[in-house]
Symmetry: C3
Subunit: 408 residues, 3 copies
């Protein structure tokens, strides 16, 4: 895409409006807020959102803005509260967002009109999504697709072993374009390519590699613990995603690991106890992606979630979580030094790539180049998905900066 | 007010033009520049201003910009100079701003045309005000009101014991709104509420508290050292201020302290020798406010001044000064560790509140909430005062962002 | 010039377009990249440029942006590479910018269409210039003028002894205006004025100084090692530069030093071995200037280059290099502690001046003042040169902010 798409304020505002405030955003994991009153906050652009576990286990989302004078209500990144009390004048909201106390407003004050503004929330299989839209995208089909495969992973019975926050100096779309191809893996991800076949493509591999992939796929298909029988494991490489023609912004699948690898770890060996319903150390990898802000790579023993949040035209806030079974004990059942490096290295390698690309596309000399048809089909699919949502027709003839029609 | 009033560049520029460049701004204290040639500088937006004590004690204000090539002339935050010499080419101005030397410009150069651009200055009772306006607001009545009460405090015979500078990430109006109510005091200001009645209101208090306030007021009225007899001490709580209908942007009054408190200190005990004309440790508190940038709380033994200066749409530069009698000696007559904490804590508690509120009002979900009629009447008054000056009519129906008519 | 010329985004963009992307920019020294494959990078606004020594010694310049997805290709400030390999997908360019490998793009991919975008480069006498313009300014005459005088200095047989990078909070034009007069030298440059006559002017000096200058000029003219006989040394002060009427944006000349000084060093003594063709420690100073981004002061034993690059409306990236003869050995033939201070102090004194001036011209009260006719004629010439290029007519009546006609 032309450079303006990665840098202009106007495009950034359109992204917020037409994508970030229209779709479903991954928030975090249900296991992060196990008890009623547990909450965490996050920021989409300049909107602070609180995700709160209510009574009877229901998770709700609220704009984290007091209805009185607009102060942030929840002031911590995560915490626990019986009621949500604004620190300014102690307006007090129930865990359902209802205003229950506002000392000083008089007896005739109608509290029912001043609940926290709620946002739609969906939790399934331990994954929490929310939407800032009045009429968000349909969630039924993605819920079904993801749930079918994610169930066995046991996200709902997991715990966060570690999380790391990044502020990456790159537009969120560059980070997705990077995620949507493994053309860059060979040189940039020495750890990742030892475990995976993604960097190969059916028409790009030697007969020897092709035979390895076929064997891995066959092996996977024969395993007794195929806990999600709808999953296909035919491909060893990148899953085709997204699908712009069918408005598919979500996907989940299992992908075989290289022979000898039971987990995406530095040496391929297990780094934690089995998660979920897996009966043995062999389930390949579960992979989930939902646009615009989430992907997950899960092995039999741990799962790694990545969440993007837009922080500016050239700035993206990223959190990476490592999850293990809820009963696993650090130091006894797992060591962070073995659990974390594989995806920490792979992630940080990508952030560095994206920051370099941001600096390049900021150049007046940058013009979009050609994609590899068999290695970057997913980047192309992502760009077409994005352009469709933004309402921009065609980028073969890149328009001059500031000349996109963003008025619709 | 709608969120745009606290964040938009356009509103910020309108604020600078219609308020900061129209009204009277508190600059500092006469005792900070006791001798001819003493000066200090400050910044209103991008305008550097120098306040200079001239010969015969006259204080003048100048745009701190050389008439030659525009360099800052006074380069220190405060200093002493016989002449004001531009560090670039040594154009030299007298303490009255007249250009007296400009080596290299030739003998026929008419120096009289290149004085420093002067700004209006008023000093009374040791308080220095300046205005960037050609026709500033009327100063006679505020001078009279403030002088009558401030005289006894002895600002003119004081010294600065301590000052602290803050850069607060909040629009200046949020800081005033915070200042104009004590609805937030109970939980946020544990030190402040031990000394004061502000957080109570006549119709909000128990009979016991009401009796305490009445007793404090009676006691105050009977004191022999009522050095400013025009001051009423009828109210124990917030003074009504500002008064938009009468264009009142200034006020001064005395307010009783809680029984047992002679000073706004951590334990209510004196922390320095008596200031000014006070005959004993009992004068309650003198309070002065002038919009848009000054408030002062004075006890019998010390005074605390707070000055706001706008540094951006969401950024305010704040200085807090602690003053004591000019003859008081640190370590002997007063200890900073006892003098400073009461207002340092109270101030910093407020800055934190305002920064949280700024983040909240930046949310796309923020909309102005209702004010408490008997606890936030002054916030309402402040907002109406502001709206009137800005030329905006009515905020009951908050306009969409960027749709305020700021063209007048 | 009115303040907007030094601060507005719109003017900054016009500067980039009409000057920085139209003229010739100094890049660095040939001796910094002596071997094929040596390169360095620099940034003009948001454009990263790579300057690369190719085979057979040819120096080329490229936009440092991969033709595939726009990543920066050369990621280091300086380095050596046999090929220029994009770190993202390893698209590989020859030292001539031709795309030579792009694994994964298919056999039918036409690599010839995806060379790195080239920028014009000129190297003469060891100085490297480049231009981002399609039709850059004429370079023949400046090349001739500069080469004639620069040849004897031996830049082509030099080495960089030291370089220092600065990020100066001032518009690039303020830095030039500062450079174009020595009216400010007396007080600000105590080291510089001990070595030079620049701060004097023919009609501004005492008979004693005038006699000294005349003697210095005579002495210079009689020296046997006048290696560039076209150079005039008639003036002891500032050279008239630029010449707006004749579109002269370049100049080179020799200027006598004060008696007793053989080098621009702290004590005037030599600080390194003779450079170039100089036969003895007596060649006065060679001075070169090319707008918009280069000046150089060379003594017989060392040379100091200064390069400006625009980094924002109020931000300029500056590098200062100290060069000595290629065979000189640090610690034996020269000491950095003696070589560097003269120009490091002088430079940093100027950056401080310019940052103070930037703060002043940002004031709403700033209006352009009068220039000294015999001390600031070059500032006036620079401003007229700039205005002509920008297409702005006349600044006697400074227009209101944002009212310049920049549409042409």
């Amino acid at each position: 895409m032309p450079g303006a798409f990665y840098s202009d304020d106007e495009v950034y505002r359109a992204d917020l409006q037409r994508i970030w405030r229209a779709g479903w955003l991954f928030a975090g994991h249900g296991c992060e807020i196990p008890k009623a009153g547990d909450y965490f906050t996050l920021e989409v652009g300049s909107d602070s959102i609180a995700i709160v576990r209510g009574s009877e286990g229901v998770i709700r989302g609220f704009y984290n803005v007091c209805r009185h004078r607009g102060s942030l209500v929840c002031t911590e990144a995560a915490g626990h509260a019986k009621k949500l009390i604004c620190p300014y004048h102690q307006w007090t909201y129930g865990l359902d967002g209802q205003l229950v106390a506002c000392r000083g407003m008089g007896d005739d004050f109608d509290k029912s009109q001043f609940s926290l503004k709620q946002v739609a929330v969906q939790e399934f299989e331990g994954l929490i999504y929310f939407s800032l839209a009045k009429n968000p995208w349909d969630i039924e089909r993605p819920r079904e697709v993801i749930s079918t495969l994610a169930r066995a992973q046991g996200f709902a019975n997991a715990k966060v072993a570690k999380s790391v926050d990044y502020l990456v100096k790159a537009n969120w779309k560059l980070i997705w374009e990077n995620n949507r191809e493994c053309y860059h893996c060979n040189v940039n991800h020495p750890q990742y390519i030892k475990a995976n076949f993604d960097h190969y493509n059916a028409d790009d591999t030697t007969p020897r590699i092709k035979a390895q992939i076929d064997a891995a796929v066959r092996r996977a298909e024969e395993l007794p613990n195929v806990v999600d029988p709808t999953a296909t494991r035919k491909d060893g490489g990148m899953t085709s995603f997204p699908d712009v023609e069918n408005n598919i912004w979500y996907s989940a699948n299992r992908t075989p690991l290289v022979d000898g690898y039971v987990s995406e770890s530095m040496d391929g060996k297990k780094v934690a106890p089995l998660m979920g319903d897996y009966g043995e150390f062999r389930c390949d990898t579960l992979r989930i992606r939902t646009l615009p802000n989430f992907w997950n790579h899960s092995s039999c023993d741990h799962a790694v979630s990545t969440r993007l949040l837009p922080a500016g035209p050239q700035l993206t806030s990223i959190r990476v979580w490592w999850l293990v079974d809820a009963d696993a004990i650090e130091g006894k059942d797992y060591e962070l030094a073995k659990l974390v490096p594989f995806w920490q290295l792979t992630s940080e390698q990508d952030w560095e790539i994206c920051e370099r690309q941001q600096r390049g596309v900021n150049s007046s000399a940058y013009s979009p180049g050609p994609y590899s048809k068999y290695k970057e089909y997913n980047v192309d699919a992502f760009v077409r998905w994005y352009m469709k949502l933004l309402g921009v027709k065609g980028i073969e003839q890149p328009p001059a900066r500031n000349q996109f029609d963003l008025s619709k």
